[in-house]
């Protein structure tokens, strides 16, 4: 039994087996990537882990505790944070507020203590200040100072992707699920992101599950890679092993002699 285990996970939509008897075991502080063509079930695995879908069979265990059947907010409190492929930010709130929302599970202010936030020494204000300080570190870390007070809806795609990573980081998760974080970023931004993902692992002690299409990035930072197709495992191994697998070559480099 490992740190974060997915065991025999299956779900079908109608007759389609989106994820078929998938098992994987992720070690603590590993960067674990999932690759595969569109529609192969990568994002579905993330949705199953974070509780948005409920699997037909199988279990998801973090440090031995089964997360299947829990609602997404309970799973978030257990230490799993994620980003979305098609950015799910709070568009009509500022970057600061979006990141502060990542602190939600750690805050205790209710309606009444919030309404009576009179002055610096009130309980609500003290809590706000403490958490704003934490969020400010994330803003520093991801170099978001320039957009700190801007509304998220008005920002460039790459920046919004990054803010989503920041929001997930604000949850101080044990496991972070990143769904195509580099989509829409230019080469320079991708290089930065690669470094940040490594830093998140080192400095924040986070285990990272990564879905990516950028092979340079994947091969550069992953400890292990799962290649899948049509809901099933093709190969699970180190980048070198995966790179050599004939089906992966077929999917990503084209068949030999075909060109």
């Amino acid at each position: 039994m490992g740190y974060f285990d997915v065991e025999n996970l299956s779900i079908s939509f109608g007759g389609l087996k989106a994820v078929d008897d998938m098992s994987l075991s992720v070690n603590k502080n590993e960067i674990f990537s999932i690759i595969g063509p569109n529609g192969s079930g990568k994002t579905t695995i993330f949705n199953l882990i974070s509780g948005i879908y409920h699997p037909n069979t199988g279990s998801v265990k973090l440090e031995g505790e089964n997360l299947v059947g829990k609602t997404p907010d309970r799973i978030a409190k257990k230490g799993i944070a994620r980003t979305f492929q098609n950015i799910e930010l709070f568009a009509n709130a500022t970057v600061m507020d979006n990141l502060m929302l990542g602190r939600h599970i750690y805050m205790k202010t209710g309606v009444f203590s919030g309404a009576f936030m009179w002055g610096k020494r009130s309980r609500a204000a003290r809590e706000e200040i403490a958490h704003r300080e934490k969020v400010e570190h994330i803003i520093d870390f991801l170099e978001l100072q320039s957009v700190r007070d801007q509304f998220v809806g008005s920002l460039a795609y790459g920046k919004r992707k990054l803010i989503e990573v920041g929001r997930a980081l604000a949850l101080e998760p044990k496991v972070m699920l990143l769904d195509e974080p580099s989509a829409g970023m230019n080469t320079e931004e991708k290089d930065d992101l690669t470094i940040w993902i490594k830093d998140i692992r080192e400095d924040y002690n986070v285990t990272i599950l990564l879905i990516e299409h950028d092979m340079n990035m994947i091969m550069g930072i992953s400890d292990r890679i799962l290649a899948m197709n049509q809901g099933q495992k093709i190969i699970l191994g180190t980048p070198q092993e995966v790179q050599k697998h004939p089906e992966v070559i077929k999917a990503y480099l084209g068949e030999e002699g075909a060109a």
Binding site: A115, A125, I129
Partner: protein, 356 residues
């Protein structure tokens, strides 16, 4: 851009000296206003403030959480009836009765919030609409609530009669100060709620409920909480409204009132507290004052009354205010969907860059 030195400055009530200055000017203005106005206008101001409390609460639900309610006249009625009945039947002093009534309204808000977990958009709107109508009819059919003939509010004694400490407010002037203080507290409370954890969670649910869930926001709790908070505001507003009117019956809280409330926040600007205040003031003025004095306008007044009586309503000019309201709504939707708040933002942007 202002330089900030402490995290607290982000959440301070008065973020800059300018804002503090204008807040003080506004307070002085509000507290000296009665010196310059007649009794009728004090009555109007009292109504406006009651509607401000309600609109601010409704905007937390509709503007910030994104749940539409057409049933707020129901909560308003619960606040009014509960406050008066707690005082007359049980002899509870005014302030505890008002707060208790608001909690009763909040409880009903919580109950109404439960279907909100399953219903969305127009379906939820219909459910709240049914709630508002049901409250009106239930009250009308029960003798304990005064039935169709209505209730008379008791003397507004803000002391505690049981301790022999009495302070009865009889004039519109004294009620003005009472309502003003409560309104200020309620508005500041709403500003603070929206700046802290709960308010942010509401906004998160509005913008993306799926993302709200995966960052750990419990939709069940926060959707029902939003209804409860909103109903609490409506309850406080209703309790004060009872004493402004002095007498009310179930028809006072009819379905159109709920629509007027929604119009207030749409015209003012969804999701904005200052917008709710402006919208409530503007619509209340349209509802109660604008067309009451229209026949006094030389030449045009007689003409309008004449048109109204011939084509619209035999009773006079009542229908005109509905028409004016409709035109305002259509105009706002076409030209400035963000309402007064949107106009304010545009003005601010313009003056920031002025004179370039």
């Amino acid at each position: 851009m202002d330089m900030k030195r402490a995290y607290y400055e982000d959440i301070e009530l008065f973020k800059s000296g300018t804002i503090l200055f204008w807040a003080i000017v506004l307070m002085v203005g509000l507290f000296t206003l009665p010196l310059f106005s007649t009794n009728y206008y004090l009555y109007l101001f009292n109504l406006i403030m009651v509607h401000v409390i309600l609109a601010v609460g409704l905007n937390i639900l509709v503007g910030s959480t994104g749940q539409i309610s057409l049933g707020h006249a129901g909560f308003f009625a619960i606040g009014a009836y509960a406050t008066v009945l707690l005082m007359t039947k049980l002899g509870i002093p005014f302030f505890p009765a008002l707060i208790l009534a608001a909690f009763i309204a909040a409880f009903f808000g919580f109950i109404l919030g439960l279907p909100a977990l399953r219903l969305e958009g127009p379906y939820l709107t219909i459910a709240t609409l049914a709630f508002g109508l049901a409250i009106m009819h239930i009250i009308g059919h029960m003798e304990v609530f005064g039935g169709r003939s209505g209730l008379r509010a008791p003397d507004l004694n803000i002391g505690i009669a049981q301790l022999g400490w009495n302070l009865t407010l009889t004039t519109d002037l004294s009620k003005y100060y009472l309502i003003l203080i409560i309104t200020i507290l309620m508005v500041l409370g709403a500003i603070n709620i929206l700046k802290t954890k709960v308010g942010r969670a509401f906004v998160a649910i509005r913008d993306s409920d799926i993302a709200a869930e995966v960052i750990g926001i419990n939709l069940t709790i926060y959707k029902t909480l939003s209804f409860a908070v909103s109903a609490f505001y409506a309850g406080i507003a209703g309790g004060l409204f009872a004493f402004v009117l002095g007498f009310f019956d179930p028809i006072t809280f009819n379905f159109f009132l709920s629509i007027y409330f929604l119009v207030m926040i749409v015209v003012g600007g969804l999701g904005s507290i200052m917008g709710s205040i402006a919208g409530a003031a503007f619509i209340t003025y349209l509802m109660y004052a604008l067309f009451k004095n229209i026949s006094d306008i030389p030449y045009i007044g007689d003409f309008i009354v004449n048109i109204s009586q011939r084509w619209l309503s035999i009773t006079g000019i009542d229908n005109l205010s509905a028409i004016a309201l409709g035109l305002v709504m259509v105009g706002i939707m076409i030209f400035e969907p963000m309402g007064f708040f949107g106009i304010w933002i545009r003005m601010k942007k313009y003056w920031k860059a002025w004179p370039f």
